[in-house]
């Protein structure tokens, strides 16, 4: 028998390719439709504790009761909770390759009408004057004008509102 220890270990490449069908369900479907057709963000409410559920959901994590069919419009403008200049972009799970980014900043937005802790979301931030960026400043969305799909990508990016 050849007892030579190989100095180069073999690796076997494999690419996972799957296609998922993500249903939006009645609550997110309403959100997506409002976004697509009316450029509006909507949230629903817990009938017991009255908190806003954003993104809209079937039940309240605090009470575990079914959400009321009671809708409120929130945002789409909001407060800049956090921002970060993007260094290395991540991998886009849809392609397995480096994601193309539409802006050089990422941010976290607290939409108008939603209390802290009741929902916020991540998005891109298009910045003209980085030195003027500060947490707590107002941000407004720039929407895609055509071929909106009903996802948050219908908003191209947010822009800071300088005072």
């Amino acid at each position: 028998m050849n007892q030579k220890v190989p100095d180069q270990y073999i690796k076997i490449p494999h690419t996972v390719r799957l296609l998922y069908r993500y249903a939006a369900g009645p609550y997110m479907a309403r959100f997506c439709k409002e976004l697509r057709e009316n450029k509006r963000l909507v949230a629903n409410r817990c009938p017991r504790c009255r908190r806003i559920l954003f993104p809209p959901r079937i039940s309240c994590p605090d009470c575990m009761v079914r959400a009321a069919d009671e809708w409120v419009e929130v945002g789409p403008g909001g407060t800049l909770l956090f921002f970060a200049e993007l260094g290395r972009p991540g991998i886009d799970t849809r392609t397995g390759e480096v994601q193309e980014l539409p802006a050089s900043y990422a941010c976290l937005i607290q939409p108008d009408g939603v209390l802290i802790g009741q929902g916020c979301f991540s998005h891109w931030l298009k910045v003209e004057n980085p030195e003027k960026l500060r947490e707590g400043m107002r941000v407004e969305p720039v929407f895609k004008e055509e071929r909106r799909l009903g996802t948050l990508e219908d908003i191209l990016y947010y822009v800071p509102v300088e005072e």
Partner: protein, 390 residues
């Protein structure tokens, strides 16, 4: 009623970024064999094998099935437990519960991650965010931004400076250099830490956990069995699991709400008569996913009064020789095979109680230790381990 369960065997691999010399199951087997050897048992003595990992990292489905080639679960009971970052503690807790149920005398629990199997390291974790909500926007604004935010908030609220984070990172490195199993052992200097580039201010690259390939395993036994065994048993005293909704992770805890860490600590301490944390518990192995988080989480676990952790760090209190050692293993910023990171916390805490941690054995006599897990959307798990049954 409920029976007591003890850790009687601890095993882990030498953690590295790449292990081309072994397959996934061979890697798992290294930890399993180490744990069985430590317990002075063979696989024939084991009745049930529990298993956990984060399957996206390896792109494998039902990883427990293939893993049976390495865990020895063939013709034994068992199942797979998976809760993201907390998988390691959840699985350890599951092992304790299997024994405490009275149905099993010996349970083996193993967890692993072989992150060199993914071409882009941790990137398959991009599957974690909700596809209809935040999956597209994770670049730069995911976990890293949260840990940067922890840093800025912590400094603003407590008067700590950037150097305190550097001290924590240096302490982690000092510990890791004394732990042969640790992944990153860098012999850092303060200068080198402060030269590490910012990922996002004030989060330096060095403050984030690495991409690690490694495995960990525990043997858990019943009281009757443990007392007949050669290895010193380490007892599961209690455990607690506390979840928080994902908006907590991205949106921060609002005023008036306590964090999942505080909630877990409050439950655990009050249930076990722990009134003076640093007296009643002698050391901690916590899941600190970034250096800044060690400062913040420690306060949430009441290891220091609010805003006081950086002072403890300043006086070296959390060092191996300190009055309340935290992560003498080097912690998560030095070693992070995701699915088993939390289990390593339990394993290392058990070694400290046994006095078998070798070079990184803390000087304080450890009768009670706490190990924590962190994951999901701000989920916290705590495991309380003790030297004696009382």
């Amino acid at each position: 009623m409920a029976k007591r369960a003890a850790i009687v065997g601890v095993g882990q691999t030498y953690h590295k970024s790449r292990r081309p010399d072994v397959t996934q199951v061979e890697l798992i087997n290294e930890a399993v064999k180490a744990a069985l050897d430590d317990a002075q048992l063979t696989i024939k003595d084991i009745e049930c094998v529990l298993f956990g990992n984060m399957e996206e990292c390896e792109g494998s489905f039902l990883t427990d099935c293939w893993a049976t080639l390495g865990t020895g679960a063939y013709m034994k009971e068992g199942c797979k437990i998976y809760t993201g970052g907390t998988t390691g503690t959840t699985a350890a807790i599951a092992a304790a519960q299997h024994v405490a149920s009275g149905l099993f005398d010996t349970v083996l629990v193993a967890a692993y991650e072989k992150q060199d199997e993914s071409v882009y390291g941790m990137e398959p974790l991009g599957l974690v965010p909700d596809p209809l909500w935040r999956r597209r926007f994770r670049s730069g604004a995911g976990a890293a931004s949260w840990f940067a935010r922890v840093g800025t908030t912590y400094m603003a609220e407590t008067g700590a400076t950037e150097e305190h984070a550097a001290m924590v990172r240096l302490k982690a490195d000092r510990c890791a250099c004394r732990n042969p199993h640790a992944h990153l052992r860098l012999n850092l200097t303060m200068e080198a830490v402060l030269k590490s580039p910012f990922l996002l201010y004030p989060l330096r690259l060095l403050y984030l956990c690495p991409t690690t390939s490694g495995a960990c395993a525990l043997v858990v036994a019943s009281e009757e069995r443990a007392k007949r065994m050669a290895q010193k048993p380490v007892w599961f005293k209690d455990w607690v699991i506390v979840h928080y909704e994902i908006e907590g992770f991205e949106g921060f805890f609002p005023e008036g709400r306590i964090t999942s860490h505080e909630q877990a600590a409050n439950i655990l301490y009050s249930r076990n008569g722990i009134t003076n944390v640093r007296r009643d518990i002698q050391m901690a192995e916590i899941y600190e996913p970034a250096t800044w988080a060690e400062l913040q989480f420690s306060e949430w676990f009441h290891f220091a009064e609010k805003g006081g952790m950086w002072r403890m760090v300043e006086r070296g209190a959390t060092d191996i020789e300190g009055e309340f050692p935290i992560n003498p293993s080097g912690g998560v910023t030095c070693t992070n095979p995701i699915g088993c990171t939390a289990m390593i916390r339990v394993a290392e805490a058990a070694l400290q109680i046994r006095g078998d941690a070798g070079e990184h054995q803390v000087t304080r006599d450890v009768k009670t230790a706490v190990a924590t897990g962190f994951g999901g959307s701000f989920w916290t798990e705590m495991v309380l381990l003790t030297k004696s049954l009382d």
